[in-house]
Symmetry: C2
Subunit: 226 residues, 2 copies
DNA sequence: CCACAGGCAATACCAAAGTATAATGGACGC
DNA sequence: GCGTCCATTATACTTTGGTATTGCCTGTGG
């Protein structure tokens, strides 16, 4: 009986385990697109080639692991600009840059902006495959975490403002009576709110709730990408 | 009375607020060392010039905010090798690379390994100053977090193995009686251990303890720097 | 106007957590 | 052997948390 433990929100939904990863390819050079496409197909991924940033952006978003093989120099919006735009739109897709003209400042800029890899032509088959593999793996992780965060935020949004306040104070370690004191309400009312919070957040224990709160408001950003 | 809240381990010691930041400079070219030294002095930081990686490594570690301005190509151990060595030794010092011969693969490698900036000669005064400023700011943060983690780990090390077990199960959300069931001991014994855990960890509440446990064992590494 | 949701509060009761105190036995080191 | 630390358990009691049920008030929207 004591072996039947439940771990609340730790039970995460697997993110489409059977989905075929998609590799977006943005390059104005047809021959490059085709060779990368071939490579992608060889590895049993799905290639999605585009000749410009605009074309790529007009493509609908998917919900499968994916990454972007991006040419640095493009007609119209160039690779770095596209990278920035994706970042601004909070589209977290791993990017592998490819370029014919090595340019240290641009490569550094790309890497600082979070690019996963920066390869120069002529492309090394293995290097590109490995980079894509790693990118897709990261994408998988990001998708899973994203789904979890989405779930959490959805539940959190269901709380009333009072319940938000109570939750904040409770996970800060205050006793019910102290929460009541802070908010100017009675302890029994705090209990009622607290109960609602636990139910709406689907928390099985206070420990659970504290962990959820930590995820909802990361005190320290993992890394600052200024 | 209710305004006198305590937040346990959240009270962190300020990391030497008045310490002068140190900028280590490693370059085999005397003129570069001198010009960077001048720049550093102008900004009221303390320069520490070295002509080689070996010299730098033999210098004693300090406990003040610091960063490293590092030439890519050096006699003996080169910049990238030094970066790797520091990483292996878990010496987390922000690195700003400088180099005369732009090399995209090397710059990418450096950035992937966590370099903060990668500048090419001739050095732009403002770019370098800004990079150093950001590096020192990051160093300050890292030092503070490091000190906090050190504190936590020290306290955690004071727990007996039984107390470790109890803490783990408690922060996973189990009730005392359930913890007792898991460990095959009585509830009252769990209470005794739990009490010890709270005292030794200096936790003011269960919420506090859960947060500490989260910091001690990051379920998901913030970023994987493979 | 009425139904409904949110916020508040009370009584009453049970479960769990925390505190105080004490006691036993094993392991370890001096 | 003796002191110390660890682990264990017990009794007895207080505080806090959780649940059930009920009631009132208010604003919102059909």
């Amino acid at each position: 009986m004591n072996s039947a433990r439940t771990f609340g929100h730790e039970v995460r939904t697997l993110a489409t385990p059977s989905a075929v990863p998609v590799v977006f390819i943005v390059d104005d050079d047809v021959s490059v697109r085709e060779s990368v496409e071939l490579l992608v197909r060889n590895e049993n991924w799905k290639p999605e080639p585009f000749a410009s940033a605009q074309e790529f952006l007009s493509h609908p978003r998917t919900r499968v692991p994916s990454c972007l093989v991006l040419d640095l120099s493009l007609p119209g919006q160039n690779g770095l600009e596209l990278q920035k735009q994706l970042s601004l739109q909070h589209i977290d897709m791993p990017i592998i840059f490819i370029t014919g003209y090595g340019d240290v400042p641009k490569s550094v800029q790309a890497m600082k902006a979070g690019a996963l890899e920066f390869l120069t032509k002529p492309l090394d088959y293995n290097a590109l495959v490995n980079a894509i593999r790693k990118a897709l793996e990261r994408s998988r992780l990001a998708l899973a975490q994203d789904a979890e965060m989405q779930e959490l935020r959805t539940r959190y949004a269901l709380l009333t403002s009072r319940e938000h306040q109570v939750m904040t104070l409770v996970v800060s370690g205050l006793l019910n009576k102290q929460v009541g004191g802070e908010l100017g309400i009675s302890e029994i009312t705090v209990k009622a709110h607290r109960r609602q919070v636990m139910q709406k957040m689907k928390a099985n224990s206070l420990a659970d709730l504290v962990k959820m709160a930590s995820k909802l408001r990361p005190g320290r950003p993992a890394i600052d990408l200024t």
